[in-house]
C-alpha cells in the first residue's frame, strides 16, 4: 500500500511499518519458506513452523526500520529453524534420559536376585496378562513390548490419545494388582 507522506500511519494504525513489510514478504514467500523448513528436517511440521514464524513477525519492533523485508524474513526463518533444531535435540536427550531410567542402570538394582519377580508373582502376572482384553491388550503391547510412542499407538489403534492412555493405565493396574496379590 503506497501513499504519500504520512498517510500510511493514519490508515494502518496499530500495525508498525516493519510488521506490514514482513507480512507482505511472508505472503509472497510462503511457499519458499515452507520448502526451507521442509529441508531442515525438524520434528515439527513445516506448517507449524510457518505459523510460529508469523507470530514472531507480529512481535518485531518498529525500529530500526526494515528496508529489505525478504532478507529479514529469511533471517527470522533461519533463526526459528535453528531454535527448533535445538529444541528437538533437547527433546531427544529427554527421551533418552527417560528410556535410561526405565531400562538402564540408572535405577540401580545391582542385586541380581532382586531383578526378577518371585515365581509366584510372575505366575500371577502371566495369568493377568492372558486375561487382558482388547483393545487394552494391543495398546499395552504396542507401547511396552514394541516400544511405540503413545501418540503413534493412538493413531494406529484409531483412538484418542486420552483413550489410549487410559487403556495403558488399566493394563498396568491389572498386572500390578495381580503381582501384589
Amino acid at each position: 500500500m503506497v501513499g504519500a507522506g504520512g498517510s500510511i500511519r493514519g490508515i494502518k494504525r496499530g500495525m508498525s511499518n516493519n510488521v506490514s513489510i514482513l507480512n507482505k514478504a511472508f505472503v509472497s514467500e510462503r511457499n519458499a519458506l515452507g520448502r526451507l523448513f521442509q529441508k531442515m528436517g525438524t520434528n515439527v511440521a513445516p506448517d507449524d513452523l510457518l505459523q510460529t514464524l508469523w507470530l514472531r513477525i507480529q512481535r518485531v519492533a518498529e525500529n530500526p526500520p526494515i528496508h529489505n523485508g525478504k532478507a529479514y524474513l529469511f533471517r527470522l526463518a533461519s533463526n526459528l529453524a535453528i531454535d527448533q533444531g535445538r529444541a528437538d535435540a533437547r527433546v531427544q536427550r529427554l527421551q533418552d534420559e527417560a528410556r535410561s531410567i526405565l531400562y538402564g542402570e540408572e535405577s540401580s538394582m545391582l542385586d541380581v536376585e532382586k531383578e526378577f519377580l518371585a515365581r509366584e508373582e510372575l505366575e500371577r502376572v502371566i495369568a493377568a496378562a492372558r486375561n487382558l482384553t482388547e483393545p487394552t491388550r494391543t495398546i499395552f503391547w504396542l507401547n511396552r513390548i514394541k516400544g511405540m510412542p503413545m501418540g503413534d499407538v493412538a493413531r494406529t489403534m484409531s483412538v484418542s490419545r486420552t483413550t489410549a492412555d487410559k487403556h495403558l493405565k488399566r493394563a498396568m493396574a491389572q498386572l500390578g494388582d495381580a503381582r501384589d496379590g
Binding site: L94, L102, M109, L117, L122, V125, K146, P149, M150
Partner: protein, 323 residues
C-alpha cells in the same frame, strides 16, 4: 524384604505407575521430568517406583502372554523395528518349532515362522493331518487354535492338501490376501514380491479374498487368482495336474530372463550365488530345470547362453557375462 503392601499406600502406587507410563510414553516434557525427579527424592516414593519398575522391566520375559491374538493392520507409525533373519539348517516335523521373528509388511508382527526351508523342498504334515509341501526358501507359520486352522505363508510358495473340516476352516494368509479352503489341494505363491500373491487350485475349491476389502473369488480345479496389493482377480486357467509342478523338483521356466533363471536355480543350490555385472539384455530362455541338481542346471544354462561361471570355495558361484 519389607512387606510392600503394609508400608505403601494406594496413592503412591498410582503415582509411581503414572510416572512409569509418562516415561514410557515417548513424549514426557522437561517440566514433567523435573517433577518426577523431585517426587522421587522422597524415600517412600522411590521405593514404590522401584517396586513398579521391577514389574515393568520383567514384562519382557512374558511378551508372549501379552501379545495380541489376532493380526492387527499396522498403520504407518514409528516403532522399534527388529529385523532378524535366522537361517535354519534343516527343518524337522511340525512339532519342533523354530521361532523366527520377521518384520513383514502388512502382517502382524508377532507372527513367527514355524518352518523355513532353505535350499530344499520339504513336505510336512500339519497337526490335523493336512499335507503341505514347501518350496525352497519358504517360511510358514502355523496357528492352529480353537475353532480355526490358520496358517501364514511369510515367504516363498507352498502347496496344500487340506483335510476338509467344515467346522474348522483352513485359511492361509499371505500379506493382504487370504485363501480359505472350501475343499482341498491348492498352491499359493508369494514369490515375486510382497505385493503379488498367486493361488492355483489342483482339486476341490477355495475362496481367495483380499484382507482389506470385499474383493474375493472362488476357484475350482485348474483355476488361478492373483492378489495384487488390494484386490483379487482371476488369471488364465492351467491344467490341474501342472499346479505346483515344482513339487517334484522339475521346474518349467518358460521364456524367462536369464537373471530370473539364475535366481530360481540359486534357490536350490547349497552355497550362495552372485550375479556380477549387467545381464539384463540377454535373450529370454525356456528350460526345464531339475531342482535336485541345481549345479548341473546352472552349467547347462551357462553353456547355452552368454554367461560364464566362476566357482569359489564354500560352494559359491559367480555368474557373469561372457565377453
Amino acid at each position: 524384604m519389607t512387606d510392600f503392601n503394609a508400608s505403601h499406600d494406594r496413592m503412591t502406587t498410582e503415582v509411581a505407575r503414572h510416572w512409569i507410563a509418562r516415561l514410557a510414553s515417548g513424549d514426557i516434557s522437561e517440566q514433567e521430568m523435573a517433577f518426577y525427579k523431585l517426587w522421587v527424592t522422597n524415600e517412600k516414593h522411590h521405593e514404590a517406583f522401584q517396586h513398579e519398575l521391577k514389574l515393568w522391566r520383567s514384562l519382557n520375559q512374558i511378551a508372549d502372554s501379552l501379545a495380541p491374538n489376532t493380526p492387527i493392520p499396522v498403520q504407518a507409525a514409528s516403532m522399534k523395528q527388529r529385523r532378524r533373519r535366522i537361517v535354519v539348517a534343516s527343518v524337522s516335523a511340525i512339532a519342533a518349532c523354530v521361532a523366527l521373528l520377521l518384520t513383514v509388511p502388512d502382517i502382524a508382527m508377532h507372527l513367527r515362522a514355524d518352518d523355513w526351508t532353505t535350499n530344499h523342498i520339504e513336505a510336512l504334515v500339519l497337526p490335523d493331518g493336512s499335507h503341505v509341501v514347501l518350496d525352497a526358501d519358504t517360511a510358514l507359520a502355523v496357528h492352529y487354535k480353537y475353532g480355526a486352522r490358520n496358517v501364514a505363508l511369510l515367504r516363498g510358495r507352498a502347496w496344500f492338501d487340506v483335510k476338509h473340516d467344515a467346522e474348522h476352516p483352513f485359511r492361509v494368509e499371505t500379506g493382504g490376501s487370504i485363501t480359505e479352503d472350501i475343499g482341498t489341494a491348492f498352491e499359493i505363491d508369494r514369490r515375486m514380491t510382497d505385493e503379488r500373491v498367486e493361488t492355483a487350485v489342483q482339486s476341490g475349491s477355495v475362496r481367495v479374498s483380499s484382507r482389506d476389502n470385499d474383493s474375493s473369488v472362488i476357484l475350482t480345479a485348474g483355476q488361478r487368482a492373483v492378489w495384487r496389493g488390494n484386490h483379487v482377480s482371476r488369471e488364465t486357467d492351467i491344467a490341474p495336474d501342472s499346479v505346483a509342478s515344482w513339487r517334484d523338483g522339475q521346474l518349467m521356466l518358460a521364456s524367462v530372463s536369464v537373471r530370473s533363471a539364475v535366481q530360481t536355480i540359486a534357490r536350490y543350490r547349497n552355497g550362495r550365488t552372485f550375479i556380477l555385472g549387467d545381464i539384463n539384455d540377454l535373450p529370454p530362455i525356456t528350460a526345464l530345470v531339475d531342482a535336485h541338481n541345481p549345479d548341473d542346471a546352472l552349467a547347462a544354462l551357462a553353456s547355452g547362453t552368454s554367461i560364464a561361471l566362476y566357482h569359489l570355495p564354500g560352494d559359491i558361484v559367480i555368474v557373469r557375462r561372457k565377453n
